[in-house]
Assembly symmetry: C2
Homo-oligomer: 199 residues x 2
């Protein structure tokens, strides 16, 4: 028999599976939930339960959405000639926080990483090309992370799109190397947008 009730061990184990949550933090969160009101714990449980039902990927750009199209793609005031390519949905939020970009997005779903078995076919590159086929987009801004995988992905995209009638640019290296785009502050992201350069 353990020292702690099974229901408590179970919750601590589930918290511990979240990224960046170690065993001690998981235990602390669990004990917080126990001493909190049952209502507040049930609110968190309900929000988790309903998450996947209330969210889908945007049919066009693969950002998160609660309908066929996300809030960006369904906004008629966004500039459809300007398309920003990012790795993950959280990266869209980082770019939006900068206030520097009025176009639309394309979420690749990751970056090239041969060691992890992620090649071009594992990313949404064909879907990107299909979006470019109709000729509405005049500039593609590549905003992959400034790390090895992101650089490789940007380089690959630059070559793959080179034959097209579209300007391909990249965010400037105002971004600190080796970091994640989604952690960058607004000013850094804004400067990187302003200083984007041709591939």
């Amino acid at each position: 028999m353990g020292l702690i009730p099974a229901a408590v061990e179970r919750l601590a184990a589930e918290f511990g599976r979240l990224p960046g949550i170690g065993p001690k933090t998981a235990q602390r969160l669990t004990f917080h939930c126990m001493s909190a009101t049952p209502e507040s714990t049930q609110r968190l449980a309900g929000a988790l339960r309903d998450l996947h039902d209330g969210v889908r990927a945007c049919r066009r750009c693969f950002f998160i959405a609660d309908d066929e199209l996300c809030a960006v793609c369904s906004n008629p005031r966004r500039d459809r000639t300007l398309l920003c390519v990012v790795e993950e949905p959280l990266d869209v939020l980082a770019v939006e926080r900068s206030g520097e970009f009025g176009g639309v997005y394309h979420v690749l779903g990751g970056a090239l990483s041969p060691i992890d078995g992620v090649g071009p076919d594992q990313l949404r590159i064909e879907a990107l090309e299909r979006r470019l086929d109709d000729g509405e987009v005049s500039e593609v801004v590549i905003a992959t992370d400034p790390d090895v995988e992101g650089e490789a992905t940007a380089h690959y995209l630059g070559e793959r799109l080179a034959s097209r009638e579209v300007v391909v640019s990249r965010l400037a290296h105002g971004l600190p190397a080796g970091a994640d785009l989604q952690y960058a502050d607004e000013v850094t992201v804004a400067r990187a947008f302003a200083g984007r350069r041709l591939v």
Copy 2:
């Protein structure tokens, strides 16, 4: 209309209410749950939902339990003459990790803090006195946190129990001042137990 689906905003807000989870971490946990399998998110939701049903406070010592008595109080091999008084249930785990203590516990439910409106009546001090009335306990080890509130609580308990036929001791100040007992490492807690002194 916001940029993010309501179900996502809602989960991020609930994560953000947990202690030590800021807005960016809450967002990151939320996006992790979205990209994780629905099953793993439902497991966390289920663990939260079932938490309060599977847990109660031990009738005797107020540590967490899945029955009337907790695992410590229902263990016949624990020394019932030695009683360790702690603030919170997590403190019991810190003492157990030290391996230095074979007695039983009493969880006060906090520490004296006039500024927060916590006086002796808000703590489980009367319940402690009722436990001492039958004379089985020969030593009370006060293991409140080594911060201002914990020191005040230890001092108050020392005076309140002074007229009883029981030895009252306190953990030694091997514990770093101003910290929480539940974060202390095993060796520090063990030394503090070994060096406990009479009040």
